[in-house]
């Protein structure tokens, strides 16, 4: 009986996230339409990836004709933050949860689901977790579909302007924590500056886009981590999206 109650409790908690995902994945659907990808591809990516930054970056690189190594590496680096959440989660759940269940839970791990699960602390059960993730997952699929199908209805000016939405979400994710943490602030500023430098400086800008972003981010993080190494121990404090649901991304 506890399993069902836990699942329903999680389900209820996931409703606001599902609504937010509907909106974000709508812009992903639009972006795939704009990039002239087929609908099945947009839905396949959303069903298997369930992540905004990774999916947007992937289709952006594919439109530039990126090679497989560049694509894989870029998406992997962007998704490295999940390793932190995955790690934090491993410290919280009960040991007796089987590897198979853990694997299934991992498939649904997103910034927001992690943030919500994290609030629950040591009391996370698989039922509650799957409850949390159910509606956001559905929202992500529906939003992608609507964005792609309804994209044709909108005037081209609207579709062009919608291209800025994902970047605004990135800004909304990295700026608030950068305000509070000097290490993050430095990593963000150097990352942005280097990325611009690599984009505008002749010869350097012949490096493929995915590698430019990776290079800028790794150098920036290296400098920030060397100057501001963290001292605290709590695993939950290491993860980027524990503060508030609104700061995460899909």
């Amino acid at each position: 009986m506890n399993t069902k109650r836990n699942y329903l409790a999680g389900l209820k908690k996931g409703i606001p996230v599902a609504i937010a995902y509907l909106a974000v994945s709508f812009t992903f659907g639009l972006a795939t339409l704009r990039g002239e990808f087929p609908l099945w591809f947009a839905s396949l990516l959303s069903a298997t990836n369930l992540t905004s930054a990774g999916q947007f970056t992937g289709i952006q690189l594919m439109q530039l004709g990126a090679g497989y190594l560049e694509l894989t590496l870029a998406v992997f680096i962007i998704n490295l933050r999940y390793a932190l959440m995955s790690f934090a989660l491993s410290q919280q759940v009960q040991i007796r949860i089987t590897p198979a269940t853990r694997f299934c839970m991992s498939l649904l791990l997103t910034d927001e689901v992690f943030a919500l699960a994290n609030e629950k602390g040591a009391a996370i059960t698989p039922a509650y977790y799957f409850g949390l993730a159910t509606l956001p997952y559905l929202g992500w699929q529906l939003g992608t579909l609507f964005g792609y199908v309804l994209g044709g209805v909108f005037p081209s000016a609207v579709i062009a302007a919608a291209g800025i939405a994902i970047y605004c979400m990135y800004i909304a994710i990295f700026l608030p924590p950068a305000k509070r943490n000097r290490g993050i602030a430095l990593a963000v500023m150097i990352g942005a500056a280097l990325s611009c430098a690599l984009y505008y400086i002749p010869y350097l800008n012949t490096i493929p886009m995915g590698f430019r972003v990776i290079l800028a981010a790794i150098v920036a993080t290296f400098v920030a981590a060397a100057l501001f190494p963290k001292k605290d121990e709590a695993p939950t404090d290491q993860s980027p999206d524990t503060t508030d649901v609104k700061e995460g991304n899909g």
Binding site: T57, V75, I78, Y82, A83, S106, Y167, C168, P229, E247
Partner: protein, 102 residues
């Protein structure tokens, strides 16, 4: 884009997303202790998002000037910690409106 390119890319993206998600949760039992690597992992996602945003955000709509003004608005709203959906919606409307002007 050819069908094999789409299918292979989709598979690679799926793998590149899945591995960081499940490996620590399923396998890692110990805690990382090095402050440098802990902070490196902590800062990295934000640096990636910043490097992904700049300068690409300026070319994300039809007009560089409209996009730049909308970006400044997004920075201000995010600094004030407004809701992510609100930041995106307002910046979108600014980019749309100014897109007709410039």
């Amino acid at each position: 884009m050819t069908l094999p390119y789409l299918l292979i890319s989709a598979f690679l993206m799926f793998t590149a997303t899945l591995v960081p998600r499940f490996v620590p949760f399923v396998f890692i039992k110990r805690k990382i202790s090095s402050p440098f690597w802990k902070s490196f992992l902590y800062y990295l996602p934000y640096a990636v998002l910043a490097a992904l945003t700049f300068p690409y955000v300026f070319y994300s709509t039809g007009s560089v000037l409209a996009a730049a003004i909308a970006t400044v608005a997004a920075l201000v709203m995010s600094f004030l910690e407004l809701n992510m959906a609100c930041v995106a919606a307002v910046s979108f409307l600014i980019a749309l409106g100014l897109g007709f002007v410039f």
